[in-house]
Structure formats: structure tokens, C-alpha cells
């Protein structure tokens, strides 16, 4: 049955999952036999032929796939996404949201729940309909860190069908990670608050105060080129999108234009009808860099290396790097243009560009009635430590996310 939350669910509204965790997914995540249109005309009427690796893992550990939510086209941005709503409405305990720029974390912040993005390469992307291969992740939103930990325990496993996974050992979520013996060290970039609006500064200050109250040690670090994360992300992601959207050709699956005289017409019209304006704009930007300005793309990739080096260097002394999750400069659920989308996700996209784990924590960085979310980026493949830190902050009883 359908609902405003779910575009598809096999379960009745009053389904009793007993003790099992109920997981909402997006229709861009393959569940065998389910519609998997990924919110795009390019995949209209697409039915998943098999379970994604992640879905198999969830089912194997006894979790229930509660339904497919609604989503923005191919999961870029949050304009149509109902993942977090599935959680706050009590239809699911956790919702999986594809994360390119910080979608899962921002969705968490908007809904005042937790959001998490794992290290890139720790979870198999097999069966995930994505757009930006070098950044996209299975993001998770949930009311409790414990639920997110359970989901990660299930899905963070080697899969030899995804060659892009990390070749070394994957994070082990079954080990105990706790902050009881020592104070967590949280880094804050120099000059971070200079970029904030007055409202944001107040929220940020309350977030810092909460961290200190919880017993964290705040330390200043330097990220001299932090202003360039968005530029690098935007150029690289658009190029990857332009490339990887090439598969939506209306030949093997998805929408095909009703009338075309020849092959070229078929492509031009099919793809013209397949994508919405936001995705089209993104793909045209990517095509511009790829075909007209390739040096810019290579330059952005060099910049990505520089930003990764700077970030990793600061993280070596830290347990996490903190900031806000969402901004009041642009709203992630209302952004209609690529420009606004990048503004809305400005705080979360550095972790996507660098492939680092990151968590959104509700209830700490608030001003007035508005919760901007506290965003903490962790060390590569130390996802369990980051979730333990989030659990530590959750247990301070100040997060408001626990019912």
C-alpha cells in the first residue's frame, strides 16, 4: 500500500515488527520485486531484479524492510524525500538515504533525529542507484544511535561484487567503543564562525557549550582551504554525474520517448524527457567541465587531494571535527537549483568529498526553536568510534531525539 511517507510498502500500516528493526529505504535501493524508480523518469517502471547487498544483509540479520519512501530525483537533495518522516512518523526505526552532499545528515537535522554517513568504501554500493560514484554512500537516519549502530553492524561487510570497497579490514561495530575513560577531543576550524550568520553563531555557541558540558575538550585546528570544499565537490560530482547518468539511455530500462526517427533522436528526446531541471542542470555543468574544460576537472581533483590531506592531518589529533549540520542560508528541503542545493549542504559536503564518516546529532546546536544540528566528522574507517562518540553525547540526555 502507498502513503504520503511510502511510495511502496508491502506491509500494512499496523504491521507489528515485534522486536525487529524496521528499515525504510529509498526507491533507488534495490529490493527484489519492488519498484525502484529512484525518483526519476529515467527509471520509470523499473523493478529491482535482486536485492542490493545491503538489503540482503539487513534481511539476514532479521530486520524488516518497511517500505520505500519518496525521494528527490536520483536522491540529489531532499526536496521530495520522506525518509526522515518515515522515522519521525513511527513507520520505521531507521531510514536509509543516499548521501552525496549530506542528504542523510541534513534530513536528520531537519527532523531533529540522528543522521550518519559511513566511510566511503566501508559499505557495498552494489544495488544502490547512484549518481556520484566516488562520494555516494548509504546514509542512515534514526531516532537512536543504537539503531544506526545495529544497521551498520549488519551492512558493513565485505562484498566482492563491489570492487570499489576498501581493500583493508572494515570497521568492526561489534567491538565495544566507549568514552568512559577519557574526554573526547573535538576540533573546531579556525575562522569557522566567521562564515556563519548571526543565528547560526548562536546555535553554534550553544552546541560548543553542550559539548563542553558533556566533558569534551575543544581544540582549535587549521583548515586553511575550507572555503574550497564546495567548489571541488561541485566540479567533481557534476562530472561524475554526467558520466554515470550516461547509462540512462532508454534502451535497457527506464523511460523511452514515444516517437523518434533515429538513434540520435531517440537519445536526445529520451534523455530530454528523462531528467528534471535540477538534474539536467547538474549534468550540463558536468558536461561543460568534462568536454569543454577538462583541465578544471583535473584541477578540482588535485584540490580534492589537498583538502583530504589537510583534513586528515587535523583529524590525527582529534576524535572528531565539529560544525553545524544545516545552514539558514538555504534550506535543503526547498533548494530547487544546483546553486541553492550546494549552499544548503555546505556544512556536510566536506565529509562527502573526503569520504570520511560523519554524524549529525540533534538537540545540541539550537537557537530558539531552530535546531541546526551538530555535525561531527570522524577519522577514516573509525566509524564505530564516531558512533560511540555520538552515543556518548546522546546519553548526556540532552539530545531530544530519544522518545
Amino acid at each position: 500500500m502507498d502513503s504520503s511517507v511510502f511510495s511502496f510498502t508491502p506491509l500494512p500500516a499496523d504491521f507489528d515488527a515485534a522486536d525487529a528493526l524496521r528499515i525504510a529505504v529509498q526507491p533507488g535501493m534495490s529490493c527484489r520485486g519492488w519498484p525502484a524508480g529512484a525518483g526519476t523518469t529515467a527509471l520509470e517502471n523499473f523493478t529491482a531484479l535482486e536485492d542490493a547487498f545491503v538489503i540482503q544483509q539487513l534481511k539476514q540479520t532479521g530486520m524488516v524492510i518497511a517500505g520505500a519512501t519518496r525521494m528527490s530525483e536520483l536522491g540529489l537533495g531532499l526536496t521530495r524525500d520522506t525518509g526522515a518522516l518515515a522515522v519521525t512518523d513511527g513507520r520505521a526505526d531507521a531510514a536509509l538515504i543516499i548521501d552525496y552532499l549530506g542528504e542523510a545528515r541534513a534530513a536528520g537535522a531537519k527532523a531533529r533525529i540522528f543522521g550518519f554517513k559511513p566511510s566511503w568504501g566501508s559499505v557495498s554500493r552494489q544495488g544502490l542507484t547512484g549518481l556520484v560514484p566516488s562520494m555516494e554512500c548509504w546514509g542512515i537516519t534514526g531516532r537512536r544511535i543504537l539503531d544506526i549502530q545495529q544497521v551498520m553492524t549488519a551492512i558493513c561487510a565485505p562484498d566482492d561484487h563491489d570492487f570499489s570497497m576498501h581493500p583493508g579490514p572494515l570497521p568492526d561495530f561489534t567491538e565495544s567503543h566507549q568514552f568512559q575513560d577519557r574526554a573526547p577531543v573535538i576540533g573546531v576550524a579556525d575562522g569557522y564562525d566567521a562564515s556563519l550568520t548571526p543565528e547560526e553563531i548562536r546555535a553554534w555557541k550553544s552546541g560548543l557549550a553542550a559539548l563542553e558540558t558533556a566533558g569534551c575538550r575543544i581544540t582549535r585546528i587549521s583548515l586553511p582551504d575550507a572555503a574550497l570544499f564546495s567548489l571541488a565537490h561541485h566540479i567533481i560530482a557534476s562530472v561524475e554525474a554526467s558520466s554515470s547518468a550516461g547509462r540512462y539511455d532508454g534502451v535497457r530500462y527506464g523511460h523511452r520517448t514515444s516517437a523518434s526517427d533515429n538513434w540520435n533522436e531517440m537519445y536526445l528526446k529520451t534523455r530530454g524527457e528523462s531528467f528534471g531541471t535540477l538534474i539536467k542542470s547538474f549534468l550540463f555543468q558536468g558536461a561543460y567541465f568534462q568536454f569543454q574544460q577538462y583541465a578544471t576537472f583535473e584541477q578540482a581533483c588535485r584540490l580534492r587531494g589537498l583538502l583530504m590531506d589537510q583534513t586528515l592531518a587535523t583529524l590525527s589529533e582529534l576524535d572528531g571535527l565539529a560544525g553545524l549540520t544545516i545552514t539558514d542560508k538555504a534550506d535543503p528541503v526547498a533548494a530547487q537549483t544546483i546553486d541553492h542545493t550546494y549552499q544548503a549542504f555546505g556544512f556536510t559536503l566536506p565529509a562527502s568529498l573526503t569520504g570520511l564518516p560523519a554524524v549529525q546529532i540533534p538537540g545540541l546546536a539550537c537557537h530558539g526553536s531552530k535546531d541546526f544540528g551538530l555535525h561531527i566528522t570522524g577519522k577514516p574507517f573509525k566509524d564505530p568510534d564516531l558512533l560511540a562518540l555520538a552515543r556518548f553525547l546522546e546519553n548526556m540526555g540532552n539530545t531530544g531525539g530519544t522518545p
Binding site: N45, T47, L49, E50, G121, S134, D160, H161, F163, S164, M165, P167, L228, L231, H234, I235, S238, G246, D249, G250, V251, R252, Y253, H255, R256, S260, D261, N262, W263, E265, M266, L268, R271, G272, T277, K280, S281, F282, L283, F284, Q285, A287, Y288, F289, Q290, Q292, Q293, T296, E298, Q299, A300, C301, R302, L303, R304, G305, L306, M308, I338, P380
Partner: protein, 709 residues
């Protein structure tokens, strides 16, 4: 420099042996044979080999020769000598001789070439060069001046010139005047979109480039010239097609006090003459076919008569048949027609007929299905033959005049139009598939008596144009049925399935012309607005007249057998109506737009890079294979502008990134091979589940549109 004594390369032969000659042209090819240097010198008449022997030429000349590169423009003096036996070059008309150089000037050097130009091998026994066919056409068009240096391209344009000359001579001999008509004019109703030219003196007003000189040539008849022609450029802003140009050349002709027979005879003689330029002999008179017959026997108004398989109507054979499908169609007033693919039963198996043609191909042509029968041992064989009794089977064989090995493909439908249209496409499909179309055969045919009107979205429209004389004049313009039954005194010249030209006898009576406008639903006001000047002309004693126009690019292309019409046009646009040589169409300065009263901007609001050029958007649309609709254009344009800004921002960070390698992923991983598994087909491919999500599948494959050209 004195070129008075210059001799053309191509004119040299053994008669010149021993003569001292002055040659000038381009270096077509070079060969360094140890000490001795050979070059092919090319001018517009041909190629001759020039030899620089260090033992015989001065060191200064030899050193200059050693510096020669392809396509340097040079002047050479030397003596014509007969080549040593065994060194003749059979690829050259001048292959028996060569020129021993004693003088050389480089008139102008050439930078390295974007593609090879030489078409003639320097070596006897090797294949001719001419690898330029594999050069990307965009590149050829971008460097068209080099492309046109190739002898094969020069030959095509020379032939085109000869054809045009032949036309002019012929029409001169028949008393026609060449009169020029304006390029800047008012839009005329030809059905396609006009190219508009804004007027500076009348801001907001536009000239139109002519789609044809139709009204002017009729006015020339009113003016009493009696016989007019013009080889004229016409312009149509139509949808892009691979073999279509936004501007094209037309032989336009009109004559007074004539009838159809005059046009037929004149044009048959003319067409015969111009095809003879390409050594193609046509026999006259050309056959004629009414539009009705063409549709009934070939399903198209452009019948390809190079092969048979014309339609046979068999509707009457099945009035009492036991085959329910045919019976129903006959009872509903439908039509049953077929073609006899003679002697091809070996190539058209049951499987091909039933699973490909009946189930896939013919439904794609718009018919519900197809019935097929093969003739084996004097009997019909088919999956439905048992439904026909002995008499019917014999009648079918008689009607289609069958012999053993024949295959009948029959389409039945309640709509006669559907039957003819689908069968026409099937006829061509089968002919192409089985290679039944003979090459180098030219089958002209006049298609005549087109319908005068057809039904459009808003009532009647003219099939040709509203000035075409109807076959009958006593019709009621308000009676649509009666109007639709009218034929026109029009004719198309069709060859090998292509329309080369067409025309008609025109209306020369104002009252009749008004009736036509009335039938077309045009109000007197609209008529005055659109054709006022022309109708005024019609009112002053217009002679009976008629004419024809011939698409010259297509005709020349057909005569020379080129792959596209671009091959016979010196500076064509590409298939996307863009000129890679000049970059037309291009954007213009805001000041120019402002002068013309165009554009929202104006000079003050122009910002460099404010909007990506239409050109860039078009390129990005093409490389992305994404068409952007008009209502999205602005948003996507803005995004590309943002991207341009980002590219500039990125440039300012070049400094501190120089020594770094680009990072394409957050960690690198190589050698991703799964261990312990054997190569195998994916189970989803094996059980065909992969096809389940496909929009169109045919016989276990993904089906796609055909690749045109």
C-alpha cells in the same frame, strides 16, 4: 613573378618530352628516395611527378626542395622527361613522364595539415591513397578549403558547374530568360518556417528569406515574360535532417500559355541532358503515374520503380472466405493487398516471416499484422493456408501470378490507408534486406494528379500550395467532402524513390483563387494581409501559366552518386545546420541587437560571459545527449553560467596545486578480480530477466531506433 608560360600539370604528356616548362601548384606528396627527391605537384588539372636530383639540380634548388612539405604552394621549372621503364605510375594520367626540376620557388608554405589531402599514391603497384573518406566530416567542413583541394572534391564541383551550365544553355535554347528575384522579401506560404532578417529601419519588422520565388515567378508571368527561369538559393528553417540543408539551390522555372505536356517534354529533355553529364543515359518519355495509382501500387507518392513487388489487390478474392480475419475485414469494407517477393523463399524462412515480419516489423509500420504464404511445389504453404479452400488457393496463386519459390506478403486492414502505407514500407524493407534494388539504375517517373487538399489540424490545407490549379473548378468551397475529392494539376518528378522536383499549373483567375482561399478557411482580411500584393497582380489579365522547381543539390548528388548532398556543395552546413568553418550561426554584439531593436538587454547590460552562447548550450546538449525544452532553457543556461564562473575560480588556484596528482577516489584500489570463480553468464542475463525492464525488446534483444545514414 611571371606565370605567362605556365603549363597545367594535368596537360603534360610524352609529347612534351624534352620541353622546358613552368609549373605551379601544391605539393601533393613527397618521397625521399635516398638522394633523389620526388614530389607530386598538383594543380586543378592533375598531378605530375617532379624530380630533384642532387647530381643535376643546383645545390640551392635542391636545398629548397629538401625543405618542401605537403601543401606548400610552389613554382617549378624543369624539363619533361620520359620515365624509366618500370617506374611509370599507372595511377597518374601523367604517369609516363616526369619533370626534372632546375628551378623552385616556395610561393607560400603550409603549416602541418589537419588531415591528409593527397589521393594519389606515388608508388606504382600500391593502392590509391584516398584515405580521406575516413576523415571526420566535421573536421573536413572546418577545413573545407583544404578538403576542397582534393581532386575528387574538385571533380564534384566541376561536374556541378557543368550541370548548371548545361541547364542554362538548354533553357537559353528554349527561349527562357534568367531573371533574379529578391532575397529579402515577405514571407510566402510554403509551409516551412521562414528565416527572418530584422530590419534596422523598421524596428520590430522583418524580411523573410525566400522559401522559393513562387509568387515572384508568377508575377513575372503576369508581367509578360512568358518564359522565366532562375537557379536560385532558397531557405527553409525546417527540423534537422541528416541530408537537409537550411539553404539549398533550386532550378526554378515558369512559363505562360502552356499546359502540363509542355513541362513534361521540356523537363524530360532537360533532365536527360543533365544526367548525361554524369554519363547516365535516361530514356524519354518518362512514365507517368497518378498519385492514386502510386499510392495503390507502392504505398507512397515517391515510388521507387527500380524493382518490382508492386501491390496486388486481392480484396475481392476473400468475400466468402473461411478465414475469419480476412472475412471480417472484407465485411467492414476493408482492403487486402499483397506483394509477391518472387523466388525468395530460400531467404525468407517461416521463422523470418512469422517471427520477424508478422510479429515485429510490420506492426512497426502501423499495420496489425501480416499474412504470408510461400509457394512450394505448386502449392501454397503457410500457417493459415488451411483456412482457404482449393479454389481460393488457386485464385490467390493466379492473382499474384506465382511460381515455385515465390513468397506472398499480404496485409489486410479495415483502413485502406493503413494497408498501403504499411505495405509500402514493407516493400522497401524487403527490397533493401534482400538486395533487390539494382545499383546504377535510374527510374524517373512523373507522379501526377495529387489531391488538391488534405485534412489538417484546422480544416483543409493545400497539398502543394494554394495557387495550384484544381482539375475541376465547379466545386463548392464550403463542401469539405467535395473539396477533398478534388485533384490538382500538379506533378512531381520522382527518381529512385526520391522527389527531385515538382510543380503545377497555376490558377490565373482571381475568382477561382478566392474560392480556394475560402475552402482553406482564410478570411478575406487574412487573404489581403498575406497575399494582397499578389492577388492584385492576378486581377490584371494573368495568362495561363505553370512551372516547376528542381532541387539541384539532390539532383547533382544523385547524378554523381555521392553519399550526401554536402559532398556537392562547396561550403555546406553540417547535419545540424551549423557551419564548422565560419561558426555560423554565431552570437552578435549587443550593440547590433540594440540597433535592430532586438533583445531584452541592450549594450549597457552586457556582462562578459553573462549567458553561455547558444552554441555552447547546443554542444553540451549534444554531448550529453539531452534535449532541453524551452521552459527549462533559462535554468540550465544559468547552471552553465555558474559552471563557467567555477572554472574561472578554479583557475585562480592553479599555483598551490601544480605538484599534486589528481585524486579520483578517496583511496586507490587496483586489481579488483574475484578469486575462485569461473567466467560465466550472469544468471539474470541467462534467464532473460534483464530484459524485463526494457522499454522495447525484440527477439531476445534490446530494441532501438535505427541509425540513420
Amino acid at each position: 613573378m611571371n606565370f605567362d608560360q605556365r603549363i597545367f600539370c594535368g596537360s603534360l604528356n610524352t609529347d612534351h618530352t624534352g620541353q622546358h616548362v613552368l609549373l605551379a601548384g601544391w605539393v601533393d606528396a613527397l618521397r625521399d628516395h635516398g638522394e633523389i627527391l620526388f614530389i607530386h605537384l598538383r594543380d586543378r588539372t592533375g598531378i605530375v611527378q617532379v624530380v630533384f636530383d642532387p647530381g643535376k639540380t643546383s645545390p640551392q634548388v635542391y636545398d629548397t626542395a629538401a625543405a618542401l612539405r605537403n601543401e606548400h604552394c610552389i613554382r617549378v621549372t624543369g624539363t619533361v622527361i620520359v620515365r624509366e621503364p618500370g617506374t611509370e605510375n599507372p595511377h597518374l594520367d601523367t604517369g609516363k613522364i616526369e619533370v626534372a626540376a632546375d628551378g623552385l620557388d616556395i610561393l607560400s608554405s603550409a603549416v602541418p595539415l589537419p588531415f591528409p589531402i593527397s589521393e594519389k599514391s606515388m608508388m606504382a603497384g600500391t593502392n590509391e591513397a584516398g584515405a580521406t573518406d575516413s576523415v571526420n566530416e566535421e573536421l573536413r567542413l572546418q577545413y573545407r578549403f583544404l578538403d576542397l583541394r582534393r581532386p575528387s572534391m574538385q571533380e564534384k564541383l566541376f561536374k556541378r558547374h557543368q550541370i548548371m551550365k548545361c541547364i542554362r544553355q538548354f533553357l537559353e535554347d528554349h527561349g527562357f530568360y534568367e531573371v533574379e528575384t529578391p532575397m529579402l522579401t515577405r514571407s510566402t506560404p510554403e509551409g516551412a518556417r521562414d528565416y527572418l532578417v530584422p530590419s534596422r529601419h523598421y524596428p520590430g519588422h522583418f524580411y523573410a528569406l525566400p522559401q522559393s520565388p513562387q509568387l515572384f515567378k508568377q508575377l513575372l508571368m503576369v508581367a509578360g515574360f512568358e518564359r522565366y527561369y532562375q537557379i536560385v538559393r532558397c531557405f527553409r528553417d525546417e527540423d534537422l535532417r541528416p541530408n537537409r540543408q537550411p539553404e539549398f539551390t533550386q532550378l526554378d522555372l515558369e512559363a505562360a500559355f502552356i499546359d502540363e505536356e509542355f513541362i513534361y517534354t521540356l523537363f524530360e529533355d532537360l533532365v536527360k541532358k543533365i544526367f548525361a553529364v554524369g554519363e547516365i543515359q535516361l530514356s524519354t518519355p518518362f512514365p507517368r503515374m497518378t498519385w492514386q495509382d502510386a499510392m495503390e501500387t507502392t504505398g507512397t507518392d515517391r515510388p521507387d520503380l527500380r524493382f518490382g513487388m508492386t501491390f496486388v489487390d486481392a480484396t475481392d478474392l476473400f468475400t466468402n472466405t473461411g478465414y475469419a480475419i480476412f472475412k471480417q475485414i472484407v465485411d467492414r469494407g476493408g482492403c487486402i493487398k499483397g506483394i509477391n517477393v518472387t523466388g525468395q523463399s530460400d531467404k525468407l524462412s517461416k521463422n523470418v516471416l512469422q517471427n520477424e515480419y508478422a510479429k515485429q516489423i510490420v506492426p512497426g509500420f502501423g499495420a496489425r499484422g501480416m499474412t504470408w504464404m510461400r509457394v512450394i511445389d505448386g502449392r501454397l504453404e503457410s500457417n493459415i493456408v488451411q483456412f482457404f479452400n482449393e479454389t481460393e488457393q488457386q485464385q490467390i496463386m493466379d492473382r499474384f501470378n506465382t511460381r515455385d519459390g515465390d513468397v506472398l506478403m499480404i496485409i489486410a486492414d479495415a483502413s485502406r490507408h493503413t494497408v498501403c502505407s504499411a505495405l509500402g514500407q514493407l516493400r522497401l524493407h524487403v527490397a533493401h534486406r534482400l538486395n533487390l534494388i539494382p545499383e546504377k539504375i535510374y527510374k524517373p517517373v512523373w507522379v501526377t494528379d495529387f489531391p488538391l487538399f488534405e485534412t489538417g489540424a484546422d480544416g483543409l490545407t493545400s497539398c502543394h500550395h494554394p495557387f495550384t490549379m484544381p482539375s475541376a473548378t465547379d466545386f463548392d468551397p464550403d463542401n469539405e467532402e467535395q473539396c477533398l475529392a478534388l485533384t490538382s494539376r500538379s506533378y512531381d518528378l520522382v527518381m529512385n524513390g526520391e522527389e527531385l522536383g515538382g510543380g503545377s499549373i497555376r490558377i490565373n483567375d482571381r475568382t477561382l483563387q478566392n474560392k480556394i482561399f475560402q475552402a482553406l478557411g482564410l478570411s478575406p482580411q487574412e487573404v489581403r494581409d498575406k497575399f494582397g500584393f499578389f492577388l492584385k497582380g492576378l486581377s490584371f489579365g494573368t495568362p495561363p501559366h505553370g512551372g516547376i522547381a528542381l532541387g539541384m543539390d539532390r539532383v547533382v548528388s544523385l547524378i554523381l552518386g555521392t553519399a550526401s548532398i554536402r559532398e556537392v556543395i562547396a561550403f555546406p552546413k553540417n547535419r545540424r545546420a551549423f557551419c564548422p568553418l565560419t561558426g555560423a550561426p554565431s552570437d552578435v554584439a549587443d550593440t547590433q541587437l540594440a540597433e535592430l531593436g532586438l533583445g531584452a538587454g541592450g549594450p549597457d547590460q552586457s556582462v562578459p560571459g553573462a549567458a553561455p552562447e547558444a552554441d555552447l548550450m547546443e554542444t553540451l546538449s549534444w554531448v550529453s545527449r539531452i534535449r532541453v525544452s524551452e521552459n527549462e532553457q533559462a535554468a540550465v543556461c544559468r547552471a552553465v553560467t555558474d559552471a563557467q564562473t567555477m572554472a574561472r575560480a578554479m583557475e585562480s588556484h592553479v599555483g598551490n596545486l601544480q605538484d599534486r596528482d589528481p585524486v579520483y577516489a578517496v583511496f586507490s584500489r587496483t586489481g579488483g578480480t574475484r578469486e575462485g570463480t569461473r567466467p560465466q553468464q550472469h544468471p539474470l542475463a541467462e534467464n532473460r530477466d534483464l530484459l524485463k525492464n526494457a522499454p522495447e525488446v525484440s527477439g531476445g534483444y534490446f530494441k532501438v531506433a535505427s541509425i540513420l545514414e
